[in-house]
């Protein structure tokens, strides 16, 4: 069966510090991978998605970047965090094909102080 791992679960970082959130998927190959950010009242905002190794599409201009160094690994990074980067970050994967379900990780609660 497929599983998705996301860590850490919670993170408190000072403004200006770097960030690295990691997501890995097991039990499937060539998944479509996504990073979402969830803020109160704004639902799930798609930040990045990737359809393959090294392929990253950015949905919104921001202080964050994403990378996919391996087929089932997706990393969200920042060189210098801003207060506005605080939020709940969710990694997800979907398979190819019509109407495929998106499976989410447990999320990372990031607080920038």
């Amino acid at each position: 069966s497929q599983t998705i791992h996301q860590w850490p679960a919670t993170l408190v970082q000072p403004v200006g510090s770097p960030l690295s959130l990691e997501c890995t998927v097991e039990g499937t190959s060539n998944p479509n991978l996504y990073w979402y950010r969830q803020a109160a009242g704004r639902g799930l905002q798609l930040l990045f998605y990737s359809v393959g190794i090294g392929q990253i599409s950015s949905e919104v201009p921001q202080n964050l970047s994403a990378s996919r160094p391996q087929d089932r690994q997706f990393i969200l990074s920042s060189k210098k965090l801003l207060l506005s980067d605080s939020g709940f970050y969710l990694c997800a994967w979907r398979g190819d094909g019509q109407g495929t379900e998106a499976f989410f990780g447990q999320g990372t609660r990031l607080t920038v102080v």
Binding site: Y34, L44, L46, L90, A92, Q98, A102, F103, G105, G107
Partner: protein, 114 residues
């Protein structure tokens, strides 16, 4: 640009009542409409989904009603229970290769009171 509009933002329903959450979309190319349920501190999980070739889909106490001409779809929770208290997201996608994005609504926080 928000392509899926969801309402209400929050909803309080008495136990045993019917909870109704509505969504409207703009892009007529969308052909997959899932609903996700999220409990606090957890990632969303698929609850039920529909494709536009049917007007209604029912799974247990959960029903999706779909109106293609109005570009609207809704989630109905019958006999609502306290365990249904969660945030619900509608979503829409174009399910063909090259279009892998799942666009979400802003969410509805549902509270079921005894």
């Amino acid at each position: 640009q928000q392509q899926v509009k969801q309402s209400p933002q929050s909803l309080i329903v008495q136990k045993g009542g019917i909870s109704i959450i509505n969504c409207a979309y703009e892009n007529t190319a969308f052909d997959y409409f899932p609903w996700y349920q999220q409990f606090p501190g957890k990632g969303p999980a698929l609850l039920i989904a529909i494709r536009p070739d049917v007007s209604e889909k029912k799974e247990g106490r959960f029903t999706i009603s779909f109106n293609k001409s109005a570009k609207q779809f809704s989630l109905h929770i019958m006999d609502s229970q306290p365990g249904d208290s969660a945030t619900y997201f509608c979503a829409a996608a174009i399910s063909n290769f090259g279009n892998e994005k799942l666009t979400f609504g802003t969410g509805t926080r549902l509270t079921i009171i005894p």
